[in-house]
Structure formats: structure tokens, C-alpha cells
Symmetry: C2
Subunit: 383 residues, 2 copies
């Protein structure tokens, strides 16, 4: 049995999306900036994808900037507004300790360029305190970036409340909505900038959007021919944009039914796994994405767990995929107050539209045995 | 008859490339940074694509950085080395007046950040003077960027000689090889940084490479999970990388035979078009890409020409695709010494592997009539 439970890392492109993209490789292949009919055909389809995306997010088409993914979108958002803010004498940004590395490492880079960054702590469930955001805003603060939902522990942040405060205080609000989009309803009313990715919602890799509301002044991260309203240059990737729009449409269409179905599977999984002794659930018990389950098992290294589960056909992760190869303890789990040894022993199981109850039953059969056998050989057990 | 003669703007993805990419959408869809078998499978294929690309370019696999295209690669190259150079007290870059906007606009942005840029002129054929490059190098020069071949007029620059001088003078050399790759043999021995794009060689859009030789110190343009040896973050786009490697492999394999075939077609086209009165060939008569023909027709606006040809089924461009919508006269043609009115009346016909002699005959039948009819209604004719 092959059970893929790493849908927070990436998802397979669904059939309807592959089909929607297909014509744009070899047939409707024109450069969307060309004046001839090949170009006009590509341009029309690109703009249709933009309109569809905008309509789902309830923003204007001119506020949709297609990018090569959410990492680029996060970088563009923070660095692009920072360059404008500097001219206005503003140099302070606020974020949280549990953001994705695309945000955290962009913030750290901005610090090397003379900007000040406040990294807000989170509580034991990974929740940011709205009051703390408000208190951290200074006269020279230009942007607050708080993710909509965390990629490792699935905690859903009070991003709409934070957005409202930022709006009232005249500070830009950015949210990395990579994990949240298609999983929770999102009201973008007070959100100035929002990053999303296609490959987390059964769309293609290398495809993302930065929503840039029309009130936002931003400098390009990537200069050139002036594509995407002068905000992001590079020959338009029509296939990717079409794929993203289609994936987003289907994700929204199925959101409620999948929420119901996956919540039931997730809860069965959580209840079952918590039967294993010395196990804790990481993240918030209720304010969490319907597809996320994250556990810490005392006395065990996460990597060993992943590899043993892999031998049994179960694909899971410890921390996020992005930080897997470096084997550092998760910065998210450390921020919750876990000890490095506990953070090392974490397991993220993230569900998707293809998972079945049979698969969950299989995991609940295999996982306790794997944990038991690893604890038997653990030098930490019984200490 | 539909005749696509805008292959310098973009090309259709060839069948073999689409087939090579196909498995990576829905089957081998893993995140290449995941530790489980889905991830390992993706990682292996990504590294195979990297090795293939490296072997064709005769560089090390660790010197291949996959990007979202050549525009990103150009931006990364210039801005990434500039950030390092600044720490060493160096602030001068050298480029030419006829670079692609991805280079020129990155340079202009660097000027706003305190860097100095020398824009070298070119001669009437679009050639950069090697001596002038040498003379422009200062003590604080850290990088020279000269394109391998121009995208509008097809002129092949003496990039290998310039690279050699830069190497001797201990200055980095970057080349935008988007149009040259797959068309001319390229020796990367003295080249430190090289940008290329898949979609100009029958690969997918949104896929490029920046070659970064191991001696080069560079900061990321896109920060995050530390992908691509810490140089370019974002979930790896395996399908795109595989497509690029395949496209490059096939382009190199067919390079000599296509050079012969397309040169004959191009020369027939040039000879035929130059029969039209008051017509000039832009670019170098011999040092030019085998697929490029660029003309100026007195008394005519390029845009009208493109639209009339389009009505006859012929897809062509004036200037480059990137600058089409803004209707500014080509900065490349102005740099050759053409008057704005002449630069406005230019036509680029760029051949590709799918063009036939029959198509060239058709163009030679249609184009003189179109030019004649436009001149009849031109307010400039006869002045």
C-alpha cells in the first residue's frame, strides 16, 4: 500500500488541471506580449486566468500578479514594499517566529539592508496574539506579515483581525496564504498583499500569485520587459497561470465537502495516534487546517520515523519539506516551547483529496508498531 | 497559410519535451526536498536534469541554478553579485546599450541603489568593441555583462574575447545567452555567469538557468528554504527542469544541421526582401544568428506591418515581444544609429525548426505587396 500523507509539501496536479494546461505547450504557445494572433490568443487566455483568479479571491484582475511560486511572491511582497518604504523614511516590519522560511529569510535579509524587524512569539498552540501585533506597531512600521495558517502545525492565525488593525493603523498587511487557500474561507477585504501557490492545491509547481491591492506601492523584485503591469517581468507562463486558476477554482468548489470529509479522517487519525503513549499533538486542537496533523513522540528522531514509515509505503514529513535536508529542529516547534529533542521527534501527516479511510486505518495499524520499535532502540528512552 | 516567424519571441514546446515533462505533473509529483520515496524520486530526476544540462554546457552540476526563466536569471546575476561587491567596496558595472531589458532595467535599478553603470555603444552593425570594454574597466568594476547574441538584430557579439579580458583583469563576466544557446557553439571557459531560457529552444516557458561558476560569490535574489545550493529558494519545478534539459539536449544535437538548413532559408529571405526598394537589413551581414532577419522599411510603421502580415497569416514582430505593447522605438535600433522613424519601421522575422522553404516563398510573395500598400497610404512616403 502507498499512502501519501505529505500534501502540505506538495500535491499531484489533478487531471482537470493538466488538461487545462496542455494546449499551452505546443499549440497555443504564443508569447502573450506579441502583437500577432498567436500572441493575442495567449494574452486572452492569460487574462481569462487572471480574471478567474481575481473573481475567486474577490479582488480586481489588475491586483493579480502571477509569479513563479509563493516563495517569489513572499520575497517580492516584503522586499518590494521595503524599497518604497525606505524612501518614505520607514524601516520597521513585524512578523512572527513561525513564518515560512520564504518570509523569515527575506526578513533577515532586509535586516542586513538596514531594516528593523520584530519577530512576535506565539503561544503553545502556535497562535499569534492580536494585541501584541497592535502594540508592536511603531511610527516607522510599514508592514506586518502574518501567515494565514502555519505549514507545519496547521494552526489558523487570526489574520483577518490583524489585517483590520493594520488597516486602521495605516500599515500594510501581507499574509502567506499558501496552506490556507482552498482550505478556509478567506476575506481579503483588509489584506493588502497575499501570497499563494498552485502546487499545494493540485496545480503545477513553479506557479504562484502575489495579490497586490491597488493602494499598495511596490517595486519589482524582477525587472525587465515590464510584464504583469510593470510589477513582475519575464515572458508570461500562460500554462502555469491557466493551471493555477483551474486548480483554485476546483479547490474552492470542493472546499466545503472536502473540509467535512478530511476533518473526519484527520480526527480519526489524531484520536488514533494519541493512543500511543508519550505522544502529543502539536498545534491548536480546533483552530487548525482540516488536513493537518502534527505529533511529537518522545524518545524518537523524526528522520528515523519518516524513513521507517517510508519503508511501509507511508509518505510523511518532519518539519516542512523545505527544511528536511538540513535536519535542524523545526523553528516552528521550538517557538511553541518544545525542547529541541521534542522538536526533532515530530511527525507531520497532511491529508489530501486522494486519501481514504482505508489509508488512515493502515497508518493507525503501522505507526504504533514503528514508534514502538524505534523506542526500543532509542538511547533516549527510559532516561 | 499560417507562417510563424517569431521564434525569437518564443517557440512551441516540442513533442519530445512535453513527453519528458508529462510524468512530473501527476505521477512523479513529489517535492524534491522531501525525505520519502516520492521526494527521492523527484530529487533524482531533478539531479539528472541538472547533470545533463551541466554536461552539455561543460560546467559542473553544482554550477547549474534552475530559475523561473532568463529574466530572473539576469536579475539574479547582476543584483546578486552587486550585493557582494558592495561589501568589498566595488560599485561599477559595464554593459552595452543593446542588452535585453532584463539586463538594462536591472542595471538602472542598481543605479538607484548607488551603483555606477557604463553603457557601451555599439557600431552600425550592433557590435561591441572589445577594446572599449577593456578601457572601461576601472579599479572598482566588479562585473561586465554583454549578451552573446542580440535578440532583435541577431548580431553575435565577441563575448568569448570579452570574457577572456575580464578573466585576465579579475572582473566577473556575465552573458545573456538566451538567443545564442542552441544556435552557436559556446565555450564557457572564461564565462562566470550565463543566463539561458528554455522557451526559446522549444522548451517550456517559466524555465531558465543561471550558470554560476564556483568561483563566483553571489547573494540570492529569492530567499527561503535554501533550495538550489542555497542560491535560489522555492519548491523545485522538476517538470520545468527536465523539460529544459531535454530541450537543450535536442537543440545541441540538431544545432549543426539546423544551422545549415535555416541559414539557407534566412539568406533566401534576406535576398528576397532586400529587393523591395528603400529597405535595409539591420544587424551584421555575417556575424548573425542563423535564424534572424531584421529589416527597416522607410515610410512605414512597424506595427501596421505586423498587423497586415498577421491578416495574411504571417506572425512576425517589430522590436522584441517584450517591448511590443508599449510601441516605443527599439532601443537596439536607435543604438545602431537609426532615426526613430526608421526604428519604428522595423520588422523582425525569426526562423525556427518548423519553418519550410514553401513558407519563405509565401512571405516573399506577400511582404512586397503589404509594404507597397502601406507606403501608398503613408503620410511619410515621398517626403
Amino acid at each position: 500500500m502507498k499512502v501519501y500523507l505529505d500534501n502540505a509539501a506538495t500535491t499531484p496536479v489533478r487531471k482537470e488541471v493538466v488538461e487545462a494546461m496542455q494546449p499551452f505547450f505546443s499549440e497555443k504557445f504564443g508569447n502573450a506580449s506579441s502583437l500577432h494572433s498567436f500572441g493575442v490568443e495567449a494574452r486572452n487566455e492569460l487574462e481569462k486566468a487572471r480574471e478567474k483568479t481575481a473573481s475567486i479571491l474577490k479582488v480586481k484582475p489588475s491586483e493579480i500578479i502571477f509569479t513563479s511560486g509563493a516563495t517569489e511572491a513572499d520575497n517580492f511582497s516584503l522586499k518590494g514594499t521595503a524599497l518604497v518604504a525606505r524612501k518614505e523614511g520607514k524601516k520597521h516590519l513585524i512578523t512572527t517566529a513561525i513564518e515560512h522560511h520564504a518570509v523569515l529569510h527575506s526578513m533577515q535579509w532586509l535586516e542586513t539592508q538596514g531594516f528593523d524587524v520584530t519577530y512576535l512569539p506565539v503561544d503553545e498552540f502556535g497562535l499569534v496574539d492580536v494585541e501584541q501585533v497592535s502594540e508592536a506597531i511603531r511610527k516607522d512600521t510599514f508592514l506586518v506579515s502574518v501567515m494565514a495558517a502555519n505549514n507545519e502545525i496547521g494552526t489558523i492565525e487570526p489574520f483577518e483581525e490583524i489585517a483590520k488593525i493594520c488597516s486602521e493603523r495605516n500599515v500594510l498587511f501581507h499574509t502567506d496564504a499558501v496552506q490556507a487557500i482552498g482550505k478556509i474561507p478567506m476575506d481579503l477585504k483588509d489584506i493588502d498583499l497575499l501570497s499563494l501557490s498552485a502546487h499545494k492545491i493540485y496545480g503545477p509547481k513553479g506557479s504562484g500569485v502575489l495579490v497586490v491591492k491597488e493602494n499598495v506601492q511596490i517595486e519589482p523584485l524582477i525587472h525587465g520587459g515590464g510584464h504583469e503591469f510593470g510589477k513582475r517581468s519575464g515572458t508570461e507562463n500562460v500554462a502555469s497561470a491557466v493551471g493555477l486558476a483551474k486548480a483554485l477554482e476546483l479547490a474552492e468548489k470542493e472546499r466545503e465537502s472536502e473540509a467535512k470529509r478530511q476533518t473526519a479522517l484527520r480526527d480519526k487519525l489524531i484520536d488514533g495516534v494519541l493512543q500511543i503513549p508519550n505522544t502529543r499533538l502539536n498545534g491548536h486542537p480546533t483552530k487548525r487546517l482540516f488536513n493537518n496533523a502534527n505529533f511529537s513522540f518522545s524518545f524518537i528522531e523524526g528522520e528515523s520515523l519518516i524513513l521507517r514509515l517510508n519503508e511501509k509505503g507511508i509518505a510523511a514529513s518532519t518539519g516542512s519539506a523545505c527544511s528536511s535536508p538540513n535536519l535542524k529542529p523545526s523553528h516552528v516547534l521550538l517557538a511553541l516551547g518544545l525542547k529541541p529533542s521534542e522538536a526533532h521527534g515530530s511527525l507531520r501527516l497532511s491529508l489530501g483529496r486522494n486519501n481514504t479511510e482505508e489509508e488512515i486505518d493502515y497508518v493507525l495499524e503501522v505507526l504504533p508498531l514503528v514508534v514502538e520499535s524505534l523506542r526500543k532502540i532509542s538511547p533516549f528512552a527510559g532516561q
